[in-house]
């Protein structure tokens, strides 16, 4: 990269100027680094420290892995983790495939496609908490929108949020509804970058549309798919606002999720040890996803 100020100066002067440039660069980073240190690095280290220290009577004492074993012996912890995995497995592939399908059909500049895009994307400009308000009424037994609809076709719906076997499925449907439009947007971007020559050639060759999709469109969209997969996986651990309104993690922790469980432990049960351990677990999961992304997937993604 060009260095506009150096060059015409003598040796010693240049060194002094370079020092100044170094300091200048650090000064530009400083504002960001202050906030990153205070609210990312420091709290991260603090949580790890907390997870090994118990706050018995005011004073903190080192307890080793005690708080970890206590957590791993607790069946609620495993239930919550299982719920999170279920949510991930059920929402990530479904919302991504649906997003891809939808994007392909609303991609063309056509009358009506603007409306279709809006219909799919609008959940992303609504706060999760408002979505929860709305979907709480949709899932209300008997009077709710869903049961009213099922009544017409003569089906008696289950207790969508009150039945521990059904509640996670209800959440899965809502999360998919929220996320499809978000990923659709990335696919729309991906589709714009596809080489049109291939499609013109394929048309001349008379290749069937389904074959064209499987052989060409799907593989070419792979970078977008991998990118969406990372976001969707991370989101499945970050989206918990709705629980506060809809179920509070219930019934009997059937819909509880890791981040909400941290919130519960820290601010309802005032169990700071458990909150610290759970935060470390969540950090571990998120870091694993990132490392997998940068070490493995990034090599295969080329924009």
């Amino acid at each position: 990269m060009a260095q506009p100020l150096s060059g015409s100066y003598g040796g010693s002067a240049r060194r002094r100027i370079n020092w100044k440039k170094q300091a200048f660069a650090y000064a530009l980073l400083l504002p960001s680094l202050i906030f990153l240190t205070l609210f990312t690095y420091y709290p991260t280290l603090k949580t790890i420290w907390y997870s090994f220290h118990s706050s018995g009577f005011g004073a903190k004492s080192f307890v080793g892995f005690d708080q970890y074993t206590r957590m791993f012996d607790n069946e609620v912890f495993w239930k919550v983790l299982k719920n999170n995995l279920f949510l991930m497995i059920m929402t990530v592939p479904t919302s991504i495939l649906l997003a891809m399908y939808v994007a392909i059909w609303v991609n063309e500049r056509m009358k009506g496609n603007g409306f279709l895009r809006t219909a799919f994307f609008h959940p992303n400009v609504i706060p999760m908490i408002a979505i929860a308000n709305i979907w709480l009424f949709i899932y209300t037994p008997d009077y709710g929108l869903l049961d009213k609809f099922l009544e017409i076709i003569g089906v008696n719906g289950p207790n969508w949020l009150g039945d521990s076997r059904v509640v996670m499925w209800s959440m899965v449907i809502m999360i998919i509804w929220k996320e499809v439009g978000f990923f659709m947007v990335f696919y729309l971007a991906g589709l714009q970058n596809l080489p049109t020559e291939i499609y013109e050639a394929a048309k001349l060759e008379g290749i069937k549309p389904l074959k064209l999709f499987i052989k060409i469109t799907f593989p070419l969209l792979m970078p977008t798919t991998l990118f969406c997969m990372i976001i969707a996986t991370t989101n499945s651990f970050k989206l918990v606002d709705h629980l506060y309104i809809m179920t509070k993690g219930g019934p009997n922790n059937a819909s509880n999720l890791l981040l909400y469980h941290i919130y519960e432990n820290a601010f309802s049960f005032w169990d700071t040890g458990a909150a610290a351990v759970l935060t470390v677990v969540l950090l571990f999961i998120l870091l694993s996803i990132s490392i997998f992304n940068y070490a493995y997937l990034d090599k295969r993604i080329h924009y």
Partner: protein, 274 residues
């Protein structure tokens, strides 16, 4: 030109899906105008016999909306303005300066993308307690004043700006901040708009963190206010009020979205491209 049958089938399916997707919103709008007595008895959930504004009146009276709106606007803009400042400086350093430890600092910034502030709710609460900032708007804003996401987005754009423009402005006697102002800011405008829209919608919608650090009406944003309000209701009769209050929360952002739709969608598109 003949339209192939498979196109008709797929387009119909996508249209049907879109209608299903928009149902909840339409139903919310209709319910917000439905009198409480009709909500339980109606057999068609999309029909309203005597549309009324009473729900909005009731919601407006029970929830201090003006205060919540202003809190949210202060928080959202307070975050955005500082973010624009911090990301501009850092992006310029990463894009245009050579300094010792550049790669290391880049990874250091990356940490915030791997560990977003959302998951640090518990330790950051402790930090705010130490700083004595609990129950302030400041506490809601502070963790977001650095944005690694914004830095990466803007750095990419800054790198594409021809370096000759930078040099030329220096030859003209511009100080570095004048160069930044006259060369970089105008060229990177679309990126700034994208970042701003993503930032605004993220923080307008943020809930968990403000819920934890606030404890009074004076510092609460809309999302927390509406959640606390909605919690006091259970039965169907009050759905009208709750849906009206919900509409009042989502309307501003929804309107902005509908007006600047293309800009919005393109912003989110842009934000995903590395």
């Amino acid at each position: 030109m003949r339209v192939e049958p498979y196109k008709i089938v797929n387009r119909s399916l996508v249209t049907l899906l879109a209608i299903i997707f928009i149902f909840p919103l339409i139903w919310t709008v209709i319910t917000s105008f439905t009198p409480g007595s009709e909500i339980i008895t109606r057999s068609n959930p999309f029909a309203v016999q005597h549309p009324t504004l009473d729900n909005y009146k009731a919601a407006w009276e029970k929830v201090p909306f003006l205060l919540y709106y202003s809190n949210t606007i202060i928080i959202v803009l307070g975050i955005l303005v500082v973010q624009l400042f911090t990301i501009t400086l850092a992006s310029y350093a990463f894009a245009r300066l050579n300094f010792f430890g550049q790669g290391f600092f880049f990874i250091l910034f990356l940490v915030q993308i791997m560990i977003p502030p959302e998951v640090l709710i518990f330790p950051n609460y402790m930090v705010m307690k130490e700083l004595g900032l609990l129950d302030t708007k400041m506490a809601i804003m502070l963790p977001y004043w650095a944005s690694a996401f914004g830095v990466f987005l803007l750095r990419q754009t800054f790198k594409q700006i021809p370096f000759e423009l930078d040099e030329a402005s220096r030859v003209d006697g511009c100080k570095w901040w004048q160069t930044l102002w006259h060369v970089y800011l105008p060229s990177a405008r679309p990126t700034y708009v994208s970042f701003a829209l993503v930032s605004i919608s993220t923080h307008w919608n943020n809930f968990m963190w403000p819920l934890i650090v606030t404890n009074s009406v004076e510092s609460r944003p809309l999302t927390v206010g509406i959640a606390i309000f909605a919690q006091t209701f259970e039965t169907g009769v009050q759905w009208g009020t709750v849906t009206a209050a919900t509409m009042l929360v989502i309307l501003p952002l929804l309107l902005v979205f509908l007006i600047f739709q293309r800009q919005f969608v393109e912003s989110f598109m842009h934000s995903g491209i590395k």
